[in-house]
Symmetry: C2
Subunit: 164 residues, 2 copies
């Protein structure tokens, strides 16, 4: 709290005009992040076949997360510091996001364009793979964000068993 206050330019006590306690502040940060993620995702058109929707999801996920490294870092590293009720809320929001990907995968299987046995596990695997970009990507690196999107899209397409 003192560090936040310092960077904002006030004393620690002054922060309590804006949050009842530290837990509420952390929870709001994480819930806002998840709300923003779901809202941004909802704005993307969900038309087209499963292959196109999966490509859109892949590129969206990488870009949205890379542009918000601090929020993503907190969303993962501070999960353990949420009180049980708050944790449940964040987990539910995360589940919503995962469900959208799972739906795309199920549709793709039904369409015959994806070949996989467990859409639920596949959705978790894909999201873990994509979010992993945040651990190594640097804007000054050898790859542009577009390069990264394309590399990962190739791997995701293969992982779900889409015809080459």
């Amino acid at each position: 709290m003192r560090q936040i206050a310092g960077e904002v330019g006030v004393q620690a006590g002054a922060l309590y005009n804006y949050t009842p306690d530290k837990q509420s502040l952390l929870f709001r940060l994480m819930r806002d992040h998840m709300d923003g993620l779901l809202a941004a995702r909802a704005e993307r058109g969900d038309g087209g076949g499963a292959l196109d929707r999966l490509e859109d999801f892949t590129r969206f996920h990488i870009r949205y997360h890379i542009e918000r490294p601090n929020e993503v870092f907190i969303a993962y590293m501070e999960l353990r510091n949420l009180e049980p009720e708050n944790f449940a809320v964040i987990e539910r929001l995360r589940g919503e996001y995962e469900s959208e990907l799972e739906g795309i995968l199920r549709d793709g299987v039904a369409e015959g364009v994806f070949h996989l046995t467990d859409p639920k596990i596949a959705s978790l695997a894909v999201i873990a793979m994509l979010t992993g970009v945040n651990t190594w990507y640097r804007p000054q690196g050898r790859l542009t964000l577009d390069d990264v999107e394309t590399l990962y899209w190739d791997m995701v397409r293969g992982a779900v068993g889409a015809a080459v």
Copy 2:
């Protein structure tokens, strides 16, 4: 330190007969974990074609990490609490592990059994996907560990562009 002492059954001060300070204790935990991982990996035979070696790596990684949830949790969540020199050591060990996978992928490309453009990125993507199992797998769940290995091996094989 008080919590560790309590679970061991001694007072906090007594721990300092075994570690000079908390940072050293954390560093030793993490270094031992990485040493154990590399040693266990080195014991697996590295013969055969790239496809077989990749399957072995995939199954090994999932199983080794699932059997050590606490160490893996610490290895990821406490990275930010390592002092710079200690951090560098852990990162070097992690890089060794990643390099082995990268080598398998390069060999597979050379053999013509894998089709991917960036073995380095692919190795990071695969490891992120595999380590993600630790966030959701529960021994009492609907899938056996062998089921999980097979599901992920199918996805890894696809992600690296191995012929179906």
